[in-house]
């Protein structure tokens, strides 16, 4: 049942599936891998030396180098114009690329046209499995590295990942290039195994096979593609062994089986394997140094400056001529009725939306013009009004992503098993655990973020934002859904953060809490800053009372 060719097909099928896995972990659906593989296969056979001249293994080695370079180069060429596409748009664009490559090869005389090229058979099961082992090793080491976590964060919530300081464009392109190189490896191995390569080997159906293998195996654990390839290669073999006739019955059974896997095993076959969540040893929290390296602006230093800032959405003024300065160490409360423009103001300061006019300057950056991840790198960290956690990651992993900016890249060193990578990972874990403890979630480190209660999710957002060691922490309605004791302890936490030197901008509807916590309060109404001052001044300000409680003319205005 397990003949040589079955063994080779399992291995190279898994390698092809890894080229899909490489982008699926970052939430990208690409079908261009068949095109990369085709370019690599035809390119390496044409450009590389023949096995007759240099011997089998050297020829294959050179072909693999050429193929992987060609695959990576092709992925850059395709990736640069398409990286801004999402979801099925990316899938269809990359599919179009693969099909275009195939048609070009069909029409190319020198590549054999539709008939294909004859290639000597060099690949043995041993070679194929060694190649697979190398690729699987790569992705095994990638998973729990800083790079791997950043990709997972992008998959779960791209916007939140950006706000945590992750350069989403660069990470997505890197994942895409990895995918191209792995697809190139597959193309070369395929070419040097099947004796005759034809453009049809790399058509739409082939791309779909690769995707199906990756998803069936599971696209969140590195062993997934291997399981998927083993499963899908063995199903027809087993059917033949038990005497099911070829023809239509086998594909029906395969289809039903595939349907069952995808419907009832959301994580693919890899979900049978228990996931090991790394936890920091309790002693390590104390022994390792903290990841707080930033020098915060001193009291009086300018942190935020807004001058004449206006934001329009299709003619509606969300903000009108806002002037605002925040300096180091302040705890600023931002209040105002629903729709006053509070969240818009926060989005402007964190760089998620550009202003329509006026100047925004935050910690030396120009949000709106500076990319979001650079604003974050300058020390701006925030929570979101509607929780934007990385749902399928554990609470601890969410916070680890938050520590992206203050931890060091570990993937390269993890590949080489350098002890310093292990040390850095432990330090990041200890840092994350401390942030979780600080918001009172130490016990829930292993729970997936999506499974936490609403109040815990609010707290986890704060822990994640804290992990970046921000100079300016923006909290967008953190106490929503909390009861009074919880809000009180949140208030204490904010106070202790300010003691650490952080500048805090707190948006909150719980006015009592704002009064108790903040040193200065801003009041927004209909996009305009109508009052600013100490809590005592705000309570007595007639304009504020009017905005909140309404007076006769105000009621008329709202009609």
């Amino acid at each position: 049942m397990l003949g040589d060719s079955t063994l080779v097909f399992i291995a190279i099928g898994a390698i092809f599936a890894f080229s899909f896995y490489a982008v699926l972990v970052a939430g990208q659906l690409s079908l261009g891998q068949a095109g990369f593989a085709a370019i690599a296969a035809f390119g390496s056979v044409t450009l590389g030396p023949s096995p007759d001249q240099v011997g089998d293994l050297p020829a294959l080695g050179i072909a693999i180098v050429i193929g992987m370079l060609l695959g990576a180069a092709a992925s850059v060429v395709l990736g640069l114009p398409t990286m801004r596409l999402r979801g099925v748009f990316l899938a269809i664009a990359t599919l179009a690329f693969a099909e275009a490559v195939r048609i070009l090869i069909v029409n190319s005389e020198s590549l054999g046209g539709a008939g294909g090229l004859a290639v000597p058979k060099v690949v043995t099961p041993a070679i194929a499995w060694v190649a697979l082992a190398v690729v699987a090793y790569w992705f095994w080491r990638q998973g729990p590295s800083r790079y791997g976590r950043a990709l997972a964060a992008i998959r779960e919530d791209e916007l939140a990942a950006r706000a945590m300081g992750i350069d989403v464009g660069r990470h997505r392109l890197q994942a895409f290039i990895t995918s191209g190189a792995v697809a190139g490896l597959y193309g070369v191995l395929w070419a040097y195994f099947v004796r005759l390569i034809a453009p049809e080997d790399f058509d739409f159906a082939a791309a779909i096979d690769g995707l199906v293998t990756a998803v069936v195996g599971g696209s969140t654990l590195f062993i997934g593609p291997v399981l998927g390839s083993g499963f899908l290669t063995m199903v027809p073999e087993v059917q033949r062994a038990v005497g099911i006739e070829a023809g239509w019955l086998r594909p029906v059974l395969s289809g039903v089986l595939l349907l069952v896997v995808i419907l009832f095993l959301p994580g693919g076959l890899a979900s049978f394997i228990p996931r090991r969540l790394r936890m920091p040893a309790s002693t390590e929290s104390e022994t390792h140094g903290t990841l707080t390296t930033r020098t915060h602006p001193r009291p009086g230093d300018q942190v935020v400056r807004l001058h004449g800032v206006t934001k329009e959405y299709a003619g509606v003024h969300a903000l009108r001529g806002v002037d605002l300065e925040i300096s180091g160490g302040e705890i600023i409360g931002l209040i105002g009725p629903n729709g006053a423009g509070k969240t818009t103001l926060v989005n402007l300061i964190s760089g998620l939306v550009p202003s329509s006019s006026g100047e925004v300057e935050v910690l030396g950056t120009r949000p709106g013009r500076t990319p979001v991840h650079r604003v974050a790198a300058a020390g701006v960290s925030r929570t979101f009004q509607h929780s934007k956690l990385f749902g399928r990651l554990s609470a601890l992993e969410n916070v680890l992503v938050g520590a992206h900016l203050v931890s060091r890249p570990t993937f390269g060193r993890r590949l080489l098993w350098l002890p310093s990578a292990r040390r850095d990972e432990r330090q990041a874990l200890a840092h994350a655990a401390r942030c979780l403890q600080r918001v009172g979630l130490g016990e829930k480190a292993r729970v997936p973020a999506a499974a936490l209660s609403y109040g815990d999710q609010r707290r986890l957002e704060i822990a994640r934002a804290l992990a970046a060691d921000p100079s300016l922490l923006i909290l967008d309605e953190p106490a929503a859904g909390m009861n009074q004791p919880e809000a009180d302890s949140l208030s204490d936490l904010i106070g202790s953060l300010a003691d650490d030197g952080l500048t805090i901008l707190l948006i909150e509807h719980n006015v009592g809490m704002v009064m108790r916590t903040c040193s200065r309060i801003l009041v927004l109404d209909f996009g305009e800053l109508i009052a600013t001052g100490s809590p005592a001044e705000i309570v007595d300000n007639p304009a504020v009372i009017e905005a909140y409680l309404g007076s006769a003319p105000d009621e008329e205005r709202s009609r």
């Binding site: 099925v88 739409f204 029906v252 995808i262 419907l263 989005n347």
Partner: protein, 294 residues
């Protein structure tokens, strides 16, 4: 100089692409999911259509409404089996693609089990042979019928979506399924109906395609699948007028490519067009740019 003959051939072929693609667009517009079992319905309908005409000796025109119903039933199966169980999954995008591919594989295998692997054709006497001569061009009745039926169905669908209660439900779900449910839209039923209509149109496209080339093959769905995807990207994913214009554009462009460049380049047209649109105007000719929400 425009070649009337080729232009008409292109429009007729393009209207078929449009009719097929509109099924993709309809489901994508409402659920944000690609239904890759759609091409299988296209192939099944072609075989069933030929079988109906051959074994019941009914006219090809009578066969079309029957195929429409068969397609609608398949659409209900697709929704129930491949999409509804995934409704609340975070990875529903990928999972829906795979589950619909799996179901398509089952459909095609069953088709092979029923009709065998060979190409099927209509009985010789069943095909209308009428042709007209317009401005020097030979135009067959079948081509005219394809163009008229396809455009009528697309227009009727546009009316359904824009003017009826069902269409309002569809648009509400497209906007926000949860809000639609709160407002009393029966989301499950409207979704199922959407799939039924989508597949019914795909089925008619399959039968008309078989009529056009007088063949039905197991792989005919995969051949048109990529073109359908190209058409909806060019037209603007969920835009129904976009699918119509995109389909006609692709059909005409293909026919002229074959005439002036060569038949082996024909399939490149769709992908070149699609790639260009994605890079230059990703929302498509008729699509609206989505505003990012925070």
């Amino acid at each position: 100089m425009v070649d009337i003959q080729q232009l008409f051939n292109g429009l007729s072929l393009g209207s078929l692409y449009a009719l097929f693609a509109i099924g993709f667009a309809l489901v994508f517009g409402i659920l944000d999911r690609l239904n890759l079992a759609h091409p299988a319905v296209f192939a099944v309908a072609a075989y069933v259509g030929i079988d109906l005409v051959t074994s019941l000796s009914i006219s090809v025109w009578l066969m079309l409404p029957v195929v429409f119903v068969v397609g609608a039933l398949l659409g209900l199966v697709i929704e129930r089996v491949a999409f509804r169980p995934l409704k609340n999954r975070p990875d529903a995008h990928f999972a829906g693609l795979i589950s619909s591919i799996a179901l398509a594989g089952v459909f095609i295998a069953l088709l092979q089990g029923t009709y065998g692997p060979d190409t099927h054709r209509f009985p010789a006497e069943a095909l209308p042979e009428t042709t007209f001569t317009v401005a020097g061009a030979q135009i067959s009745l079948v081509q005219v019928a394809i163009l008229v039926i396809s455009v009528l169905l697309v227009v009727a669908l546009g009316f359904l979506v824009a003017r009826t209660r069902l269409g309002r439900g569809m648009r509400a779900i497209a906007e926000n399924p949860t809000a639609a449910r709160v407002l009393g839209v029966n989301v499950d039923r409207v979704t199922a109906t959407t799939f039924a209509i989508s597949s019914a149109l795909g089925a008619v496209a399959g039968a008309l395609f078989a009529l056009n080339v007088n063949t039905a093959q197991l792989g005919m769905g995969s051949a048109i699948e990529l073109k359908g995807l190209a058409v909806i990207i060019v037209g603007g994913m969920s835009s129904l007028p976009g699918a119509l214009v995109g389909g006609l554009l692709l059909g005409v462009a293909e026919v002229f490519t074959v005439q002036y460049i060569g038949s082996s380049w024909r399939d490149l047209v769709a992908f070149a067009l699609l790639f260009l649109i994605l890079v230059v105007r990703p929302q498509g000719l008729f699509g609206k740019r989505k505003v990012r929400e925070v």
